[in-house]
């Protein structure tokens, strides 16, 4: 019995070690390895990188811990099946969309589909979004002084405190009196309006 327990621990640790041994390999490299030999172990390593994020996304939509855990397992199975059928280039945005779609389908089946969640969320994964995110990261807000002035007071304040003074949501909330949700919303809307202002220049 003790031997079996030891063997299980050794196997678990070997598996974990195997996982951490591949930390230096990017998602796309792991996918390439998988497409070369169709060995599901590569998928195992890749999917485990996103377990916590998938758990969070599932919980956000399903609002139930057990259902969220169940959803993550279903997403894993779906991902393994789909990856055998076609090639995926940007795994992170793809798995995010798989998880969201799965949760929304579950909500629709249960009749809990809120009017706030519209059909656009069920869109197929946009792989170009990840490329655009990388391009956007290169633009710094320090060159946007002119565009900043066009924002409303709340958005201007939150965006300045977050991006220029590098304050956390909690600090900004404490300083401004907004709730954390309001701070997040002002930053998100401010960023979008800045982007629009920059594009129109």
């Amino acid at each position: 019995m003790e031997f079996k327990v030891c063997l299980h621990l050794v196997n678990t640790n070997l598996y974990l070690l195997r996982g951490s041994k591949h930390d230096h390999i990017s998602d796309s490299e792991l996918l390439q390895h998988f497409y070369a030999d169709h060995n599901n172990e590569w998928l195992g390593i890749l999917l485990q990188r996103y377990t916590m994020l998938l758990l969070g996304v599932s919980m956000k939509y399903l609002k139930n811990e057990e259902e969220a855990k169940d959803a993550v397992q279903q997403v894993f199975l779906k991902a393994i099946n789909e990856l055998h059928k076609y090639k995926v280039e940007y795994f992170k945005s793809w798995i995010y969309m798989i998880a969201k779609n799965h949760c929304l389908m579950k909500l629709r089946d249960k009749g809990r589909f809120s009017t706030e969640i519209n059909e656009r969320l069920m869109a197929t994964p946009d792989e170009s979004e990840e490329k655009n995110n990388y391009i956007e990261k290169d633009k710094t807000l320090t060159n946007l002084a002119g565009a900043l002035q066009q924002l409303n007071k709340e958005q201007q304040l939150c965006v300045t405190l977050f991006y220029l003074e590098k304050k956390s949501y909690l600090e900004i909330a404490g300083q401004t009196g907004f709730t954390i949700m309001q701070v997040k919303s002002h930053i998100q809307n401010g960023k979008r309006n800045l982007k629009i202002a920059m594009e129109s220049r």
Partner: protein, 121 residues
Amino acid sequence: MSDDLKNILSNLNKEIEQEKLLDYLNKKLSAPEAHEVEKQMAEDPFMNDAVEGLENFNNKKDLSLYVEQLNDNLKKHLDKKKKRKEKRRLREHPWLYFTIILLLILVIISFVLVKKYLSAG
């Protein structure tokens, strides 16, 4: 893996470590560290949604355990699939394994006979 190497690799990868995310959720990070996490959240809708969901778990200390269980189940599922594939391979070529076993038996018999012959001589 040493801590220094881990830091270099995580910076190369530019993805937040799971431990940092847990620390953020448990409010263990300093304000500048929390800001870094939030900056990534603002630029990454996947991460933003995930954090919003994870914040709704009653006991955040259980999150690592849940992740471990899910990863463990995934591993078991993949191992099962692998064994099924190997069993199928065995069923498809039984004659190959039969021939190998037969050859091994012949080698053992020959060895025994030769040994007997030599000891008799």
